[in-house]
């Protein structure tokens, strides 16, 4: 128990956010895909993954490999086979309904009229397709039809779907207490798991509800049956009372929660709890399992350096960090995720001593710092100045015995460099790269040589060439 409390005490805010965020993502995943085949297959895959973990834990190597292979292939197959369903959920719904789909609906609608009309159509064996939009805009999903914008009434609905009416095969769209469009064409569902007795009318109803939060009342011409399509489900409605109840739920008109609604709320709450427990367990297995110690050599990054100062020397360029964490986390840690930063914004010219503490070190979540070595860094800073230095040729090699290098003029004779004041105080000459004497032509000539700017902290001032021209003369020895 104490150990458990200790573990919870060590949880940082990042860990809580990590668990919370992922639990919510899993929960939303459930909400978006529940009732579809995708979700069922995902549950199967998750179970397979658990079996694979158990097999690996028990040392059943081949079994573990086989399940792992199945899971990998199945994950790919899901994307290919259920691409339509996935696209429907991820693209057709708006961002709000993907992230938070519990908005209560407040609009008022003539539910009784719709229910009466639907069951009257069923009795007469007239087909019907009545669309009642939700919060989402269905403008892009519903094509064609004739704009009407007439008051809703039982007679009007019956006449729209009367078999001799030219628009009776399309859908009627009801917004508020008005029929806004008739003869509308709905997108067909791409599902291939629908029963064969369901015709185009039912497929059209599902096509719209899968892609939006609308509900569609479908009246079957052949069977005289009323169904309600909502989300990816199409349910037969046996009575007028039931249809009224369902429509009231859709419009948020129900004064009390129907048993179905309560059941749904319990289902949602359970899913939320399971998501939280699952992610918490998964998180602990990843971040707290198999504690491992590892040592990283991390270069020190110096931040906020005064642009007029430069680092002349540092006692160390990197520090060794001893970290602990789960083996999984440590294996997945990239070098750029572990950083040591020193703020030298307040450093003065000369040696500055800094202590490296945990505030200077950034680690991926889940890794803990055990030790830093060395703990102190001395950084020598210098003020940046410009200085003009004479250039001298660094001759090497040997001329023939009877020849002398009489004179050599360098152009430019002086070059401006930029570097630390203290360093430049000790430097009076800028040398060329080594120029071999044995390559010189007898009598004289012109050659080019590069400049050697040392130490590395020195730089040629902008505009200064890194090469010089040497004009030389040779003569015979006296």
């Amino acid at each position: 128990m104490e150990k458990l409390l200790h573990v919870f005490n060590e949880l940082g805010w990042q860990d809580v956010v990590d668990i919370g965020l992922n639990s919510y993502i899993l929960f939303r995943f459930y909400v978006l895909f529940r009732g579809t085949y995708v979700f069922r297959v995902l549950i199967g895959l998750t179970m397979l993954w658990f079996f694979q973990q158990i097999a690996a834990y028990l040392g059943l190597i081949v079994t573990s490999w086989v399940i792992q292979g199945i899971v990998a292939v199945a994950a790919l197959i899901i994307v290919v086979v259920f691409r339509n369903e996935i696209r429907t959920v991820l693209q057709a719904k708006n961002l709000k309904s993907i992230l938070w789909g519990f908005t209560a609906k407040t609009r008022v609608a003539p539910v009784d009229v719709i229910a009466d009309s639907a069951f009257e159509l069923a009795r007469r064996r007239h087909g019907g397709l009545i669309v009642i939009p939700g919060e989402e805009d269905i403008e892009e999903l519903v094509q064609g039809g004739i704009a009407w914008n007439g008051d809703i009434s039982r007679e009007m609905i019956l006449s729209v779907f009367f078999p001799d009416n030219p628009v009776h095969d399309g859908a009627a769209v009801i917004e508020g207490d008005r029929i806004t469009r008739v003869g509308a064409i709905l997108p067909l569902s791409r599902r291939d798991d629908l029963p064969s007795y369901l015709g185009t009318r039912h497929r059209a109803a599902l096509g719209l509800t899968e892609a939006s939060d609308a509900v569609v009342v479908v009246v079957s011409e052949q069977r005289g049956e009323v169904s309600l399509a909502r989300g990816s489900r199409l349910r037969p409605i046996g009575s007028r009372r039931k249809l009224v109840q369902k429509l009231e739920e859709h419009f948020g008109l129900a004064e009390f929660q129907a048993p179905e609604q309560r059941k749904q709320n319990v289902e949602i709450a359970t899913a939320a709890l399971v998501s939280l427990l699952f992610i918490t367990g998964f998180w602990f297995s990843i971040s707290r399992g198999l504690e491992t110690l590892v040592s990283f050599e991390v270069p020190i990054e110096y931040m906020n350096r005064d642009p007029n100062m430069e680092i002349v020397h540092a006692s160390v360029n990197s520090v060794r960090l001893n970290l602990s964490g789960s083996g999984t986390l440590i294996k997945s840690t990239r070098p750029d995720q572990v950083r040591v930063r020193l703020d030298i914004g307040n450093a003065a010219a000369g040696p500055n001593s800094f202590s490296i503490t945990s505030s200077n070190i950034s680690l991926p979540p889940g890794l803990l710092l055990k030790e830093v070595a060395p703990q102190n860094v001395v950084v020598n800073l210098d003020v940046t100045v410009r200085k003009e230095l004479p250039v001298q040729v660094d001759w090497v090699g040997r001329l023939p015995e009877n020849v002398l290098l009489a004179e050599a003029a360098v152009e430019p004779a002086r070059v401006e460099v930029v570097g630390g004041k203290r360093i430049l105080e000790t430097i009076a000459t800028l040398y060329t790269e080594k120029v071999p004497l044995d390559k010189l032509r007898e009598g004289g000539g012109v050659i080019e040589a590069g400049l050697v700017v040392q130490p590395a902290s020195l730089k040629l001032a902008s505009g200064s060439s890194d090469k010089v021209t040497i004009k030389y003369n040779t003569r015979r020895r006296e």
């Binding site: 004479p390 001298q392 040729v393 660094d394 001759w395 090497v396 090699g397 040997r398 001329l399 002398l404 290098l405 009489a406 004179e407 050599a408 004779a413 002086r414 000790t426 430097i427 009076a428 000459t429 040398y431 004497l437 020895r477 006296e478």
Partner: protein, 140 residues
């Protein structure tokens, strides 16, 4: 690095072998001294007050090299210095005397293997004002 230095406290009046007008040191103002530098060279040999084989690159096999300086308009007896500097590190500081009115004097160093590289000789008066800087290399 071991540098063998022979200080030539040798100086003598000169009337004949001044080889043209003295050039002021590049980048350094002519000192308001009581002497004018007429000639300054690094050479392989000084014989009878005359420098031989002046150059800007000397083989280590030469064994010894000289810095020869010749002054005119020396108002009174005064010291000058030859600062031998190897790669920006002072190697030797040699004090020499000038006497009125034209005077030549020189210093020298013995070369060793470790002396290969760029050298310079700064010729200054007692106050540190530079008459001229001579640059050369000691090579194979």
């Amino acid at each position: 690095m071991i540098v063998w230095i022979f200080i030539a406290a040798i100086g003598w009046p000169l009337t004949t072998h001044a080889q043209g007008p003295a050039r002021p040191a590049a980048g350094s103002p002519a000192p308001a001294a009581k002497a004018a530098l007429i000639q300054a060279i690094v050479c392989e040999e000084v014989k009878d007050g005359i420098p031989y084989n002046a150059s800007v690159a000397f083989s280590i096999s030469a064994g010894k090299i000289y810095c020869f300086t010749f002054f005119d308009s020396v108002a009174e007896e005064m010291p000058i210095y030859h600062h031998w500097i190897f790669r920006d590190r002072p190697s030797a500081r040699i004090r020499l005397s000038l006497k009125p009115t034209r005077w030549a004097t020189f210093s020298s160093i013995q070369l060793r293997e470790a002396d290969k590289g760029p050298w310079r000789v700064e010729i200054t008066d007692a106050s540190g004002r530079v008459f001229k800087i001579l640059r050369f290399s000691v090579t194979d």
